[in-house]
């Protein structure tokens, strides 16, 4: 579809080629947004686009590396009606603390935080009043074992969200975050080990599904959610509420 036809308000969803990102893209499409499916991998991005278009929604793929500022700027420049940015793309690795390196940390920050910063800055310059930024944080921001670099990067996302809410408040751009607990994505299900324990530790005995996160993102992305900003909403089935959140 030629770019000039993108007239409906547009939402960029990064990492929308799979899992939670794809569910967010789907929900925001239902909400009436034209979706830019940003992903570093071409086939998954195109598959999301195909699924959305099959349902009659407007969507296009943008294959890029979000840590490349020139590429993200080009993407932003290509959108005339940018309304929503969902910073969903991120990386996750499990590394025992004793084996964790400074490079592991740098890489984690590069993707999970600095790319989020750059894209948000570029997008905020383009967004009109009433723009929306929604960041994907994590329940793990409040502590978890075996991935200190990820935990630290997500805690930084929570802080960044609040700072950005203040920076962009006067432009009436709201900035919020959703912090998922354990969500049943293909990536998680492939792990198999420990899945039953995770399930048993949930107050409701069930894990989350990507749609649970997508609905929360949709709430924040809605133009009418105009008085909510700087919030980090935990979507974890209550796992962290009862003081039994030891990971």
């Amino acid at each position: 579809m030629p770019m000039s036809e993108h007239r409906s308000p547009t939402a960029i969803v990064t990492g929308a080629g799979a899992g939670i990102g794809r569910a967010i893209a789907n929900r925001l499409a239902e909400d009436g947004f034209s979706i830019v499916v940003a992903d570093r991998a071409q086939a998954p991005a195109e598959e999301t686009v195909r699924q959305l278009q099959e349902k009659g929604y407007e969507a296009r793929a943008a294959v890029l590396d979000i840590t490349d500022p020139a590429a993200t700027q080009a993407l932003i420049d290509s959108i005339e009606t940018l309304q929503v940015l969902v910073n969903n793309a991120g990386i996750f690795t499990v590394v025992e603390f004793d084996k964790l390196t400074a490079d592991d940390f740098r890489r984690m920050y590069e993707v999970n935080l600095i790319a989020m910063f750059t894209l948000s800055q570029q997008a905020s310059r383009r967004m009109p009043e009433g723009g929306r930024i929604v960041n994907l944080c994590s329940r793990a921001a409040f502590g978890a074992r075996h991935y200190a670099h990820y935990v630290a990067s997500k805690a930084a996302v929570a802080g960044f969200t609040k700072a950005l809410a203040l920076e962009l408040g006067m432009k009436q751009i709201t900035v919020n975050a959703v912090a998922p607990g354990i969500i049943q994505t293909d990536m998680l299900l492939e792990r198999k080990d420990g899945l039953e324990e995770m399930r048993a530790a949930q107050p409701t005995g069930k894990l989350g599904i990507p749609e649970d996160i997508a609905h929360a993102v949709s709430f924040f992305a809605d133009p009418r959610a105009s008085y909510v900003t700087g919030q980090v909403l935990i979507v974890d089935g209550g796992r962290s509420v009862g003081g039994t959140a030891a990971f």
Binding site: S8, P9, E30, D31, G32, F33, S124, R125, K162, A163, A165, L166, E167, L168, G169, M170, K171, Q172, T174, G181, P203, T204, G205, G208, I209, D212, I213, H215, A216, S218, F219, D222, P223, R224, A225, S226, Y227, V228, T229, G230, Q231, L233, I234, V235, D236, G237, G238, S240, V241, G242, G243
Partner: protein, 262 residues
């Protein structure tokens, strides 16, 4: 742009303090999403007006300090052959006074309305929801229950208690399929607050001008958040406190102009 409304089709919601202000907005939000609303208030005017506009609104006169209120609401539900899916604890009292100016009686009043009033109805609702396989409770707390406020000893303490109650009930009743969350409004313009906003300079300066979004909230802002948390779209969310405060608890805005351009 066509945004679908969070559906509450056929759900039965009890909303306290539904006669005006935030409660009235919540009632309208729920009715527009297809819910059946049991609108509870001390005064008849607001809830009767609601019922005259919608067949799905059932007015119930009652005071949350009345220990028999759960029975009164229960009778109304039974008469209409309705189960209970959602409870919105919205009724509350707010009046400013610092600690030295707060008497035992003042504090007792906050306890009776803002804490015991919420607790008693929640206890009743939890028991009922456990019999029907689950449900959702949303409490209206306040940003003053999250941070220190001004001249607000009894109110702030009572709202902090509501936040503690929210987390506690969420923990205990999650396994029974009952979710409990709270919305913490910032300064919202209602018939109750309109005069204070007009007359109190500090309130305008600190709560509106220094608020990141630089405006006062509307009852609808709160109602949308309540509706989201009450609905099945929030089915993996429990024990959370969502501030609807224009960013006020996130940080203040002391400077007149933003640093960024554009």
């Amino acid at each position: 742009m066509d945004f679908p409304i969070t559906s509450l089709q056929g759900k039965v919601a009890v909303i306290t303090g539904a006669g005006q202000g935030i409660g009235e907005a919540i009632a309208h939000a729920f009715l527009s999403a297809g819910a059946i609303v049991v609108a509870v208030d001390r005064e008849p005017a607001g809830i009767d007006a609601l019922a005259s506009k919608s067949d799905h609104a059932i007015p119930v006169m009652g005071d949350v300090t009345d220990a028999s209120l759960p029975n009164v609401i229960g009778a109304a539900l039974d008469e209409a052959d309705l189960s209970l899916d959602i409870l919105i604890n919205n009724a509350g009292v707010a009046r400013g006074a610092h600690a030295i100016a707060t008497s035992d009686e003042d504090l007792q009043r906050y306890f009776d309305i803002n804490i015991l009033g919420v607790f008693r109805l929640s206890r009743w609702a939890l028991a009922r929801m456990m019999n029907t396989g689950g449900g959702s409770i949303v409490n209206i707390a306040s940003v003053f229950g999250m941070v220190g406020a001004y001249n607000s000893a009894g109110y702030s303490m009572s709202k902090a208690a509501v936040i503690g109650m929210t987390r506690q009930l969420a923990t205990d009743f999650g396994p029974s399929g009952i979710r409990v969350n709270a919305v913490a409004p910032g300064l919202i313009e209602t018939p109750l607050t309109a005069e204070r906003i007009q007359t109190e300079t500090w309130r305008r300066q600190i709560m509106i001008e220094q608020c990141p979004l630089q405006r006062v909230g509307k009852p609808e802002d709160v109602a949308r958040a309540v509706r989201f948390l009450a609905s099945d779209e929030a089915s993996f969310i429990t024990g959370q406190i969502l501030a609807v405060d224009g960013g006020w608890t996130t940080g203040r805005f002391p400077r007149p102009e933003p640093l960024h351009g554009v």
